[in-house]
């Protein structure tokens, strides 16, 4: 999908997010960090009761077993930034496309709100602005000037904080150096207290993300669908070897 547009396939990074389920405590810090960084609106109680949410990252909680031998597991799910993304070919206006760094980008001002991409996404991580988001004054001051505020009728989703990727890249270029591993941190990764989220370049075999991706604990969500996600989960309950 659109891979031929890469200027040089060798040099381009492949951004990936590693989610260590053994460390995740379900604390929700990533969720608020994402709201703050990406100008994600809130749905309000009425819409929330209706089953809607606007979070770009949500933490699934799964129950296993019955009382008293019951366990709960947490699993943060955000856009999986698939290599073979089901959301991309269905967009009639190319609002969702594959960028040279392997990200599924969403071009808000192309989006006409068909929601086809959301229907096609097997991970259900795309959210749709059914209403004009409201930021009662002076809450508008909290908005991040690096990120668009989406209006009614627009589909949105996790971008791996592309503005933070660009910021680090621009700074590195200005200083005449390469971006170091670990320097780019999406807002969720930056705040995660137990260090369950690790961001890095899969095309760099030495990056921490690459190393963890090779762990025996690694798996991808709904791997059998052939979407080849760039989010790599590490199974909980065992040590890394």
């Amino acid at each position: 999908m659109a891979q031929d547009v890469k200027p040089s396939a060798e040099a381009a990074p492949r951004w990936a997010l590693v989610v260590d389920l053994d460390r995740c405590t379900g604390c929700q810090a990533c969720v608020v960090a994402c709201h703050a960084e990406n100008n994600v609106p809130v749905a309000g109680e009425k819409q929330a009761i209706y089953g809607r949410w606007m979070h770009w990252i949500i933490i699934h909680r799964y129950w296993e077993g019955e009382y008293p031998n019951v366990k709960a597991r947490f699993m943060p799910v955000m856009c999986q930034q698939c290599t073979e993304a089901p959301c991309e070919p269905v967009c009639p206006v190319f609002a969702t496309y594959h960028n040279p760094e392997g990200l599924n980008a969403q071009i808000y001002n192309r989006c006409i709100g068909t929601r086809f991409c959301g229907n096609a996404c097997p991970y259900k991580v795309r959210t749709f602005n059914w209403f004009q988001p409201e930021f009662p004054e002076p809450l508008t001051e909290q908005l991040n000037p690096d990120v668009t505020v989406r209006s009614r009728g627009i589909m949105e989703k996790c971008t791996f904080c592309i503005q933070r990727i660009r910021r680090a890249e621009i700074e590195a270029r200005a200083e005449g150096r390469e971006v170091a591993d670990g320097e780019i941190q999406p807002a969720c990764v930056q705040t995660c207290p137990p260090g369950a989220l690790i961001f890095g370049d899969l095309n760099d075999p030495d990056s921490r993300a690459s190393q963890l991706a090779r762990s025996h604990r690694s798996f991808r969500l709904l791997e059998e669908l052939g979407t080849a996600p760039a989010v790599i989960y590490l199974k909980g309950g065992e040590a890394n070897v």
């Binding site: 405590t25 709201h35 703050a36 960084e37 909680r61 009382y67 320097e183 930056q190």
Partner: protein, 740 residues
């Protein structure tokens, strides 16, 4: 990784601003000049971000933060990567701090309530008039004892000022109490340390390097003590550098998010935590487990303990006790944590003592992976941390208010009308006080019952400092500076008190001699100047003051461990005390368990839309209040998810929809605290929900005087009504509505 980021961030972390000294004292001296900084001017361009270091005030932990500021507006809060406590990390509540600053329901100036208290009719008040009224009220008191100060989460310098002012006036010291601290058992934990180690300092549990952790009701990954530092340590516990993976056991009547992260959850009978700890201790002594001889001197502790009785009383089988005793004693590094739920019982002190004694028994006090005290080092002089008061001091104040012995009540950083058990009668007592002044930036339930509201700045506009408690592996002070100019005509309460003292003259003016709070902070910070231990030092005081703001505090470069020494109290047999509950078991068959919400804490987060919308980790519920019932309990009552039940205690009742919760004992009913605000702004008031403090008996543990918030029994009545709860998870498996 931290190192590399640190350097970059250090360059970006800007100090406060140049001083624009005012002529009059108590004029707010320093406001930010976003483009005139200590660095070269060409560094800062319009539209470019600068980072200011400060301290998070969303809970008492005192994490370091850096705030991204663009054109004088705060845009994002992140953890301070240099800070040794939270190491760049921050929790959900810390991340939401921008909405405290930019909250649409903030008070924009000082106000007087014109239609009488509770009328919610406010009239703007000039600060000079406000100060004059306040000074006149104080000086017209017939006796200084008729003045009372009720504080909650206060920065250390403000507590210091308040305590000095009250002392100079001859009034009693401030009463410091808030619900969050009560739920985490802060006062009781300090008392436990006092009797165990001889200092009232909260201990640090070395979770990162422990192999086995027995956590008794400590939800240390959610709200207890220093959740960010503890979560950071938890990450290391799980995926150790050398491939180790620690073992965590959680004893709790309800499966909290911390218990969900544990390797084993033991649904213990409420109030029986001490019995389990005593049982495990007795097994270790009897079977001579663990390192040879380590327990022998402590055998006397367990001479009154019978393992079978303990097993029966706690409903934890003897085999489980034996198994856990072996795991615990055989580990090289192991630690037992007495948590907040223990402190919330009427046998709280006995239970906490029994748990802490386990650390002594296996010689983990002062050992890697065990229990430490934070080393004060040079920060000792700064440690005038507000001592959390136990609940009996609050009850005493309420009694004095009711008896008409208080003429002037000042309230800062607490919302007692909302936070105290309704049955304690604060709302009735405050009506008997002739004049009440609130310093709240928001019109909360207590401020609405005040004559004057003199709003403090919110924390991102404020000066201050805090010695984090519990601390970390080295001496630390977190410093706070305004990251933006104050948005409105609010005034720092410290400056108000200083101005008040100047007006009152005499002793008060001598005791509070600083012209403004910044001068006071500069004087305090200068204590640390010239130390070779610090992560930085400067040749001049001015340079030190700049770095103090740039770094967001002062800390030692290296780890300085401090080994506590157990006092002789632990050479006597441990008391075996059973819990007591309010309410007849026949009429009120369930134990009531109000628990702190991960998002809203004790309710102070409920005016922030991000936190209202934040799914509870366990139930995925947002916005409302719910009642958690075991599936079996729900079945026997004939209710399911979203069916409204009435929960009745001997003290009050509330109605809320049910969440059928597989991780709770059948005899326990759990409700999160935080909702049910009648005031406190549009987001808090819009949320459906009720305040579970209406049900809680205002009783204490007689040993510590701590609020026994878990010592109430309730009964349940089905109402036949349904009320949908805003849950993220789909209950019918049909998926979600977000796209459809």
């Amino acid at each position: 990784m931290t190192k590399r980021l640190s350097r970059r961030d250090f360059l970006k972390i800007a100090a406060g601003a140049t001083a624009a000294t005012g002529s009059a004292p108590a004029v707010r001296r320093i406001v930010l000049e976003p483009f005139a900084r200590s660095g070269p001017l060409e560094d800062v361009l319009p539209g470019q971000a600068v980072w200011y270091a400060s301290t998070c005030r969303q809970c008492a932990a005192g994490c370091g933060i850096v705030v991204r500021v663009i054109n004088g507006r705060a845009k994002k809060i992140e953890g301070n990567p240099l800070h040794p406590l939270n190491r760049g990390k921050l929790c959900a509540r810390g991340q939401a701090g921008l909405q405290v600053l930019y909250n649409p329901d903030r008070l924009k100036n000082a106000v007087r309530q014109t239609g009488g208290r509770g009328s919610r009719q406010f009239e703007p008040l000039a600060w000079d008039d406000a100060l004059e009224t306040l000074a006149q009220k104080v000086s017209s008191l017939s006796n200084p004892d008729r003045l009372a100060f009720f504080g909650g989460l206060m920065p250390d310098h403000l507590y210091r000022l308040t305590a000095r002012l009250l002392e100079a006036l001859g009034a009693r010291p401030p009463v410091i109490f808030d619900l969050h601290s009560a739920l985490e058992g802060r006062a009781a934990a300090a008392q436990l340390s006092q009797s165990f180690f001889g200092v009232p300092q909260l201990p640090v549990y070395d979770l990162a390097r422990s192999e086995v952790i027995l956590s008794f009701g400590a939800n240390f990954l959610e709200t207890w003590m220093s959740p960010v530092a503890q979560s950071y340590a938890y990450g290391a516990l799980r995926q150790g550098q050398f491939g180790g993976r620690g073992f965590l056991v959680q004893f709790e009547p309800r499966l909290s998010a911390t218990a969900a992260s544990a390797d084993e959850w033991i649904p213990i009978r409420p109030g029986a935590e001490g019995f389990v700890a005593l049982g495990i201790g007795r097994v270790i002594v009897e079977e001579r487990l663990g390192h040879v001889g380590s327990h022998r001197p402590h055998a006397v502790l367990y001479q009154n303990v019978d393992v079978r009785e303990m097993a029966a009383a706690s409903e934890v089988p003897v085999e489980t006790l034996r198994r856990l005793a072996r795991i615990f004693a055989d580990a090289d590094q192991a630690v037992a944590i007495p948590g907040g739920y223990l402190a919330g019982q009427r046998n709280g002190r006995a239970s906490m003592l029994a748990v802490q004694a386990l650390n002594l028994l296996v010689a983990q006090i002062g050992r890697v992976g065990g229990v430490f005290l934070s080393h004060p080092g040079l920060t000792a002089a700064l440690r005038q941390t507000p001592p959390m008061d136990s609940f009996d001091r609050v009850l005493d104040l309420i009694a004095r208010m009711k008896a008409g012995e208080i003429d002037l009540l000042l309230i800062h950083g607490a919302n007692p009308v909302f936070e105290l058990p309704a049955a304690a009668g604060f709302a009735e007592a405050i009506a008997r006080v002739p004049f009440v002044v609130s310093f709240s930036p928001f019109v909360d339930e207590t401020a609405v019952r005040s004559d004057l509201i003199l709003p403090d700045h919110t924390y991102l506009e404020s000066w201050g400092y805090q010695v984090p408690a519990p601390g970390t592996d080295r001496p630390v002070v977190s410093s706070q500076q305004p990251v933006v100019r104050p948005l409105y005509d609010t005034r720092a309460t410290a400056d108000v008190l200083l101005a008040l003292a100047a007006r009152l003259g005499e002793k008060a003016a001598v005791a509070l001699r600083w012209p403004d709070e910044v001068a006071m902070l500069q004087e305090i910070a200068s204590d640390l100047h010239g130390s070779s231990l610090g992560a930085y030092d400067a040749e001049t005081l001015a340079g030190f003051w700049m770095l103090w703001r740039r770094y967001g505090g002062w800390w030692s470069e290296k780890e300085i461990p401090r080994e506590p020494e157990a006092t002789e109290i632990v050479e006597q047999p441990l008391p075996v005390v059973g819990p007591e509950f309010e309410g007849e078991p026949g009429t009120y068959p369930f134990y009531f368990y109000p628990y702190p919400s991960v998002a809203l804490a004790d309710g102070r987060g409920s005016n922030l839309p991000w936190l209202q919308e934040l799914p509870d980790p366990m139930t995925t519920a947002r916005w409302g209040t719910w009642v958690e019932l075991n599936p079996e309990t729900a079945r026997s009552l004939g209710v399911g998810d979203n069916d409204v039940v009435r929960v009745v205690s001997p003290y009050g009742e509330l109605e809320a929809p049910v969440v059928v919760y597989p991780g709770i004992r059948p005899d326990v009913v759990a409700i999160p605290v935080g909702q049910g605000h009648r005031d406190y702004g549009r987001f808090a008031q819009a949320a459906s929900g009720s305040n579970p403090l209406a049900l809680v008996a205002p009783v204490t543990d007689p040993e510590t005087g701590a609020l026994a918030w878990g010592a109430t029994r309730v009964r349940l009545e089905a109402t036949g009504r349904k009320q949908p709860l805003a849950r993220l998870e789909s209950l019918d498996g049909a998926g979600r509505e977000t796209l459809g």
